[in-house]
C-alpha cells in the first residue's frame, strides 16, 4: 500500500537525518490531532501525500495532491513563528521548514481567493 511505502521512505529519511521536526496537524472538524515529522519529507508534494493518507485514507493515492492545487474542500495552512496563519506553498521548502510551528487544515470557505 502506498501509505506503507511513504512511511518507510520517511523512516529512511529520519535515519539519515537523525533530526526531527515533529509538528502538530489539526484538521478543522476533527477533535484529535496528529503529529508529522517534517524533516522526514523533502517537498510540499510529499507532505501533502502524507497528510492526505492520514486524513483522507488512500482513496486518492494516484494523482496530484488535492490539498495543494486547490481542488479540495480543504486548504493547508501553517502557523509560523510569529503566530500568523499562512498558506502552505508560497515559500521554498527549506524556508518553510525554518518558520513552521504547526499545521492546520482548514475548510476552503474560510479563505478569500
Amino acid at each position: 500500500m502506498l501509505a506503507n511505502q511513504i512511511k518507510s521512505e520517511q523512516e529512511g529519511l529520519s535515519k539519515i537525518n537523525n533530526r526531527h521536526l515533529s509538528v502538530k496537524v489539526n484538521m478543522e472538524g476533527s477533535l484529535i490531532g496528529r503529529k508529522i515529522d517534517l524533516y522526514a519529507h523533502t517537498s510540499y508534494e510529499m507532505l501533502a501525500q502524507t497528510l492526505e493518507n492520514m486524513f483522507y485514507g488512500t482513496h486518492n493515492a494516484v494523482g496530484s495532491s488535492r490539498l495543494l492545487n486547490g481542488t479540495s474542500e480543504f486548504v493547508l495552512t501553517y502557523e509560523d513563528k510569529e503566530g500568523d496563519c499562512m498558506l502552505v506553498g508560497d515559500v521554498p521548502w527549506q524556508m518553510f521548514l525554518g518558520s513552521v510551528k504547526r499545521l492546520r487544515i482548514l475548510r476552503n470557505t474560510n479563505m478569500q481567493h
Binding site: S22, G29, S30, L31, I32, K35, T58
Partner: protein, 162 residues
C-alpha cells in the same frame, strides 16, 4: 518539586556543555567558526539518556480517562517499552475479556486495544493528539494524560487507511 530538580540539572548540564563548547571554539582557528553560523545546540539526547534512570523515579503515572466512564485509571508509561506493551496493558485494564488473555494478545496494537475506541493523549500544551505518531520514548515523555474516545464521537477522524 521534582520536575524543577530535573530542569535544574538539565540546565546545569547544558550550561557546562556550552562553556566547554566556547572553550573549544576559542582554541580553533577563526576560519572554522565562519563555517557554522548556527548557534551550538548541546546534545540533549545524551543528557536525557543519562537522566533516564532519574526520570523513571520522578515522573508520575498518567491518568487514563475513558469517555463515558466515571472512574479513571492510572498507568505508568515508563513501565512499558513500547506501544504494544501499552496496548496490552490498556486491554487488560479496560476491556472485560474474561477469556484466555494469552491467545487474544497476538496482533494487539493501539488500534484494537480497546475496541470501538481511539487512544489519544493530551500533551504539555493540552492539545489532543492520536497516540502512535511519535516514537515511544518521545511519546512517554510528552504524554500527560490518555483519553480513550469512542470512534463515533467526533467527525472525520480520517484514519481510513488500514
Amino acid at each position: 518539586m521534582n520536575n524543577n530538580d530535573q530542569n535544574a540539572s538539565l540546565t546545569m548540564m547544558k550550561r557546562r556543555w556550552l562553556q566547554d563548547h566556547q572553550r573549544r571554539l576559542m582554541s580553533q582557528p577563526y576560519i572554522n567558526m565562519l563555517v557554522s553560523p548556527q548557534p551550538p545546540t548541546p546534545p540533549i539526547h545524551k543528557f536525557l539518556k543519562e537522566e533516564d534512570d532519574l526520570i523513571t523515579g520522578v515522573i508520575p503515572a498518567v491518568t487514563v480517562v475513558v469517555e463515558g466512564r466515571s472512574i479513571c485509571h492510572r498507568i505508568s508509561l515508563h513501565n512499558h517499552d513500547g506501544y504494544n506493551s501499552l496496548a496490552k496493558a490498556l486491554r487488560r485494564m479496560l476491556v472485560d475479556d474474561g477469556g484466555n488473555e494469552d491467545d487474544r494478545e497476538e496482533g494487539l496494537d493501539l488500534s484494537n486495544a480497546v475496541p470501538g475506541h481511539i487512544i489519544a493523549y493530551e500533551d504539555m500544551e493540552n492539545d489532543l493528539l492520536l497516540a502512535g505518531d511519535l516514537n515511544w520514548k518521545d511519546f512517554a515523555r510528552v504524554a500527560r494524560r490518555l483519553r480513550i474516545i469512542p470512534v463515533k464521537s467526533h467527525s472525520s477522524k480520517g484514519k481510513g487507511s488500514k
